[in-house]
């Protein structure tokens, strides 16, 4: 009995002791993450629909917060993450807590203000006021000014826009804000001046154009107002506000492919290509099964000329997500560039099986066929690409170039004519169209295309030389000489233009336009510049001597050219030189 009582007493004491022990253990383990023991102030966070990468980051930050519940930074980081990922309510509460713990840090009221500005402008206003006591930051003044403007407190708004511009006078929003204050006050001179400044900074800004439209209306010029308004409607409505403070926060805490892409872009822009690769490699390490991260790494590797890494990652992305069309495309294109035609075709055909209407795949398959000698198949793929994207000028241009490779000049003309109905102002298309027309013997029309080209791109040599040849073939010798003279003025140091001009001056079939003396002068200068060794220039010089009746010099120059070519057998030989030499020996000048 006694023993039984002892056991009973022991049990009576053991039970509370065990309970206490469990409680103490729980308390001890809590900060280590065994139990979630978040600070009481932590607002409710909805994880519904949250991306797994965001959730992982959130857990990490909450763990940090658990360790340091009195650290403003820990609260602020949670706030930024929630803010960026559409949890504005709890984000705002975390910003407030961070502010409370570290009232001297500007980021919490400032970022909190931005967070609140969409839906609670009073709170945004209050938080910006707090931030403004801690920092002079132009975007902050702009944001404050915009709130005052909307509330109709124009004097205060104007003051803040001026403050912003005193910090950064390139901020279009500052000038636009001042213009709007002036428009409200009907001060058209001031408004006009501020709008002028906006237009200097960003000539294509839609919101500036609509403000200008309002300005024109107030000046009484309704027609100008209407025109400006139509221009504004065709443009992007808002200009982004460059804000380093906000961007830094975004870059630190943004999670997900879009933030990775943006961070990567910034690293590359800053010249830190290894940083970009490291960034994506970390993303792959975090989730090796994530095809999007593999694609990201592959693309950066491709940009940084690391094709083997890029190939490996694209292939892995395609394996992890066989339905990821972009992976098959990237893999196909890269294999094509590396000469693996069979591998490229396999990848592109896999992509095509997933998306038969992808003009990108059809175009690349077409290009692949063209480069592997399967021209007819290539044209077929490119024709299909045109069918799925009839309004895409690039696709139609590719088809035209496929026909060009097959020397199907009539088809080239048809496709380029269709293409130019979509985009008439593409120089490359005009050039190719001119070539195709010339190949079909339509020299005058070809000259029109090359003439347009030389107007658009006066520094482009082939434009001028092709124009001359088309004009000569059209027997428009005077026009040909005139165009070459203009080309010589536009590109004075160019040897090809100078050579073409001199050649035409001394060989023109029409005696009215020949001028052997000028030709000789130009050719002499040309040869001196080139050390009198370049065969083509010697050939031109010889022709100019012949035109002036100095056949002895002409023969000497042709012989020099022939000797040079004989000494350099690696250079392309010119059988015409021997023919011309024979002519000069018979006192016959050469004709074009």
């Amino acid at each position: 009995m006694k023993g039984k009582n002892k056991v009973s007493r022991f049990r009576q004491r053991l039970l509370p002791t065990l309970l206490l022990g469990v409680l103490l253990l729980g308390w001890w383990l809590a900060p280590t993450g065994w139990f979630e023991r978040y600070p009481q102030d932590l607002p409710a966070i909805s994880r519904s629909g949250m991306d797994t990468a965001v959730e992982r980051r959130l857990d990490l930050l909450l763990n940090s917060l658990q360790q340091q519940p009195e650290a403003a930074r820990a609260w602020g980081d949670v706030a930024i993450l929630l803010d960026l990922h559409q949890q504005a309510g709890p984000a705002l509460e975390c910003y407030r807590k961070a502010m409370e713990l570290d009232p001297a840090e500007v980021r919490w009221p400032y970022l909190g203000g931005i967070c609140a500005s969409l839906g609670d402008s009073d709170e945004a206003f209050r938080l910006f006021e707090v931030a403004a006591m801690l920092i002079q930051h132009a975007p902050l003044s702009i944001r404050q000014g915009q709130i005052y403007l909307q509330r109709g407190e124009f004097d205060r708004a104007e003051q803040l826009f001026r403050t912003a511009l005193s910090i950064d006078d390139q901020l279009i929003q500052g000038h636009l804000g001042l213009a709007r204050c002036a428009l409200v006050a009907s001060d058209l001179d001031a408004a006009g001046a501020h709008l002028d400044r906006c237009e200097q900074l960003q000539p294509e800004a839609g919101e500036v154009a609509s403000a200008r439209a309002h300005w024109w209306r107030l000046t009484g010029d309704v027609q100008q107002a209407q025109q400006q308004l139509e221009a504004a409607t065709a443009r992007a409505p808002r200009e982004p506000l460059p804000d380093s403070l906000r961007q830094q926060a975004v870059m630190e805490q943004g999670v997900g492919p879009q933030w990775l892409r943006e961070r990567s872009r910034r690293l590359l822009a800053a010249g830190d290509s290894q940083g970009a690769i490291d960034l994506w490699q970390q993303a792959v390490l975090d989730d090796p099964q994530d095809a999007a991260s593999r694609m990201g790494l592959g693309r950066v590797a491709q940009q940084q000329k690391k094709p083997l890494l890029a190939l490996q990652e694209f292939a892995e992305a395609a394996r992890l997500d066989p339905d990821l069309v972009e992976a098959h495309i990237a893999l196909g294109v890269l294999r094509m560039r590396r000469g693996d035609a069979a591998g490229a075709e396999k990848a592109l055909r896999q992509g095509l099986a997933l998306d038969s209407a992808s003009h990108e795949i059809l175009t690349n398959l077409g290009a692949l066929m063209m480069t592997t000698g399967r021209g007819a198949e290539g044209v077929q793929f490119l024709q299909r690409a045109c069918e799925v994207a009839p309004d895409d000028a690039d696709v139609r241009f590719n088809l035209a170039m496929a026909h060009r490779a097959l020397k199907e000049w009539s088809a080239v003309c048809i496709e380029l004519e269709s293409m130019m109905k979509i985009d008439a102002n593409r120089p490359r298309a005009r050039f190719e169209y001119g070539v195709a027309l010339a190949e079909r013997g339509r020299f005058t029309e070809a000259a029109v295309q090359f003439s347009w080209l030389t107007e658009q791109q006066p520094q482009r040599v082939t434009g001028w030389t092709n124009l001359t040849r088309a004009l000569v073939r059209a027997e428009l010798h005077g026009e040909a000489i005139a165009s070459l003279r203009r080309a010589h003025q536009e590109i004075p140091g160019n040897w090809r233009i100078a050579s073409e001009l001199a050649w035409f001056l001394c060989t023109c079939p029409d005696a009215r336009w020949r001028d052997g003396i000028e030709a000789k002068r130009i050719a002499e200068v040309l040869c001196q510049q080139q050390g009198s060794t370049y065969p083509r220039s010697l050939d031109v010089w010889a022709a100019s001597f012949a035109e002036c009746g100095d056949f002895e010099s002409a023969i000497a120059k042709v012989n020099e050219a022939l000797q040079y070519l004989s000494d350099h057998p690696e250079l392309p030989q010119d059988p015409q030189l021997e023919i011309r030499l024979a002519g000069y020996r018979e006192q016959q000048p050469h004709r074009y």
């Binding site: 949250m50 839906g119 402008s121 919101e207 209407q226 997900g256």
Partner: protein
């Protein structure tokens, strides 16, 4: 024991203080106006139709965030108002709509007792409905319905007893795509009501967007091209023909709201269209169905800062008692609603800030809106329905499903001080629910002399707000032109209560996707020599004896003096 008595004592004292302030449940506190009125949410009361909630889609299908029309009209000519509710299924495919996704017609049998007569009425169109308007297309004295859809629109002819026949095909209605607000008006003066259909955008369903959190979100309208509105001329023989381009209305835009009225004071009907993210259009009429856009010239295209805004709904009326038609357009969050004051002779000025509407409206996305005399004091108050199109800070009191809660906002009632300055009302009990409101219509549903309100929500639910205004002198007027056997849309009623002129236009559309009671509501709390005059839509005018107050009367053209 002792402390327990002390606590009880304190509680008793507090209760007594509370009662002495007058803030009891039954008697609302006085508002800043000189009399009392209150709105009661009667949505869950017996006699009202049950709420039919739309099933949420997993993805974000843009049209579902924009729907929600409602029309208050007398469908059967029995003198009380009935209600037509626009509904939709999960897609624009008519064939997959189930019965609950069809539009509903609720007939009022007794005050606040509505019966669902959809099946009997033939008004159960199964399209992906956006909005509707009621108008008498055949001058037979009853109200027909035009339904704007995502997909083919529909025209339903009323036989006078609330039974409708779909005559879309027979009448040549061929409007397809995404239509929004609709308006009946006689634009060519032939005594037949024509139809103006605002159209929103050319939807590309393959465009899917996500927000910064990677969650699917509704796309922004700027990602799509605007659609061409349609003006359908009534040929008078039951057929309609589109005269959009001939009429000069040749500018596609993302239109959502439309009103008809005389904007430039030349006595000819004009149109005003609110566009989403683009300049608004003021189509000035020439009286014979020819129009040109003069919005920029008139100061109606963009706001005071020179910004085009995301126009949704339009309210129209004389807010400052100067006899001129003023306009209010509701907008997206971060853009205040805009009040365009009519300065006369076709000139308007954005006076939003000066009239107290900038600050209170900037944090909300406004859709439906109506100028009406909510407190029966003789001036026009303003009501706006709100609900976001992008997720934001979730309101702690947000109602509705998990899908819609992050979009929820409170609606607003603004009281007019008589000079056209507005102050938000916080005491009438209106808008205690935080939801995702869209359509809004007003009408005296119980014929007790004050305007009740109906607001639709994106989840398909319907909020009924019963107005309980303090008794005053009021009139409800049917304004009829016997030559057309229907309400003379476009007529203007001028009532002078001995102190101030009230000018009210008959019809004219407005709000968002919705249609309100076409009767004219007048009220005054002042005694004086009263007069009543009607300026008919053809330009003639007549004076009438002021009917006895607190009555519903009919003013017939030719029966005045």
């Amino acid at each position: 024991m002792r402390s327990g008595f002390r606590s009880l004592g304190a509680a008793t004292i507090l209760l007594a203080c509370s009662c002495s302030s007058g803030c009891t449940k039954d008697e609302p506190p006085s508002v800043h106006t000189t009399h009392q009125f209150r709105f009661i949410d009667v949505s869950d009361q017996q006699g009202l139709p049950p709420q039919i909630l739309i099933q949420d889609r997993v993805d974000r299908f843009m049209p579902e965030s924009m729907t929600g029309g409602v029309v208050i009209f007398d469908c059967d000519g029995d003198g009380d108002l009935d209600l037509y509710l626009l509904c939709h299924g999960p897609t624009a495919d008519r064939n997959v709509s189930d019965r609950s996704a069809r539009n509903r017609l609720y007939r009022q049998e007794q005050p606040w007792r509505f019966v669902d007569i959809t099946d009997l009425s033939g008004a159960d169109d199964s399209g992906y409905a956006m909005g509707a308007a009621a108008g008498d297309i055949d001058n037979d004295g009853d109200l027909d319905l035009y339904i704007s859809n995502l997909g083919p629109d529909r025209l339903l002819e009323n036989d006078g007893s609330g039974v409708f026949t779909d005559i879309s095909e027979a009448s040549g209605i061929e409007v397809d795509g995404w239509s929004s607000s609709v308006l009946f008006a006689d634009v060519d003066g032939d005594n037949n009501l024509d139809i103006y259909v605002t159209r929103y955008l050319e939807l590309d369903e393959t465009i899917r967007v996500t927000n910064h959190g990677g969650l699917p979100e509704y796309p922004a309208p700027g990602q799509f091209k605007g659609a061409q509105d349609q003006l359908l001329r009534n040929n008078g023989d039951g057929s309609f023909v589109s005269i959009t381009i001939e009429a000069g209305l040749d500018r596609p835009s993302r239109g959502l709201g439309v009103i008809a009225g005389d904007l430039d004071g030349d006595g000819v009907l004009d149109l005003y269209v609110a566009n989403d993210g683009e300049p608004n259009q003021a189509w000035l009429g020439d009286g014979s169905a020819g129009f040109h856009d003069a919005a920029m010239e008139m100061g109606l295209a963009i706001n005071i800062f020179g910004q085009p805004e995301a126009g949704m709904g339009i309210a129209h009326g004389d807010v400052d008692g100067d006899g001129l038609l003023d306009l209010i357009v509701t907008h997206l969050i971060s853009e205040s609603d805009t009040l365009y004051q009519n300065l006369g002779q076709g000139h308007f000025k954005d006076v939003t800030g000066a009239r107290g509407l900038a600050h209170p409206t900037i944090d909300f996305t406004g859709f439906g809106t109506l100028l009406f005399d909510g407190d029966n004091d003789g001036d026009l108050d303003l009501v706006t329905s709100h609900g976001r199109v992008l997720r934001g800070i979730t309101h702690s009191m947000a109602a509705g499903s998990r899908h819609w809660k992050p979009y929820a906002e409170e609606d607003h009632l603004f009281l007019n001080d008589g000079q056209g300055r507005f102050r938000i009302d916080g005491k009438s009990g209106f808008a205690t629910r935080i939801g995702v409101s869209r359509g809004l219509a007003g009408g005296d549903l119980d014929n007790d002399g004050d305007i009740d309100l109906v607001i639709t929500e994106a989840d398909g639910s319907l909020r009924w707000w019963k107005n309980q205004s303090e008794p005053s002198s009021w009139w409800l007027l049917n304004v009829i032109d016997p030559s057309s056997n229907r309400t003379d849309l476009g007529a203007v009623v001028e009532f002078h209560d001995g102190h101030k002129l009230q000018r009210r236009r008959v019809g004219g559309g407005g709000s968002y996707l919705s249609g309100s009671d076409q009767r004219i509501h007048l009220a005054t709390r002042k005694e004086g020599e009263r007069s009543l005059k009607v300026r008919w839509s053809d330009g003639t005018s007549e004076s009438f004896q002021v009917p006895p107050h607190r009555t519903i009367s009919t003013l017939r053209k030719g029966e005045g003096e």
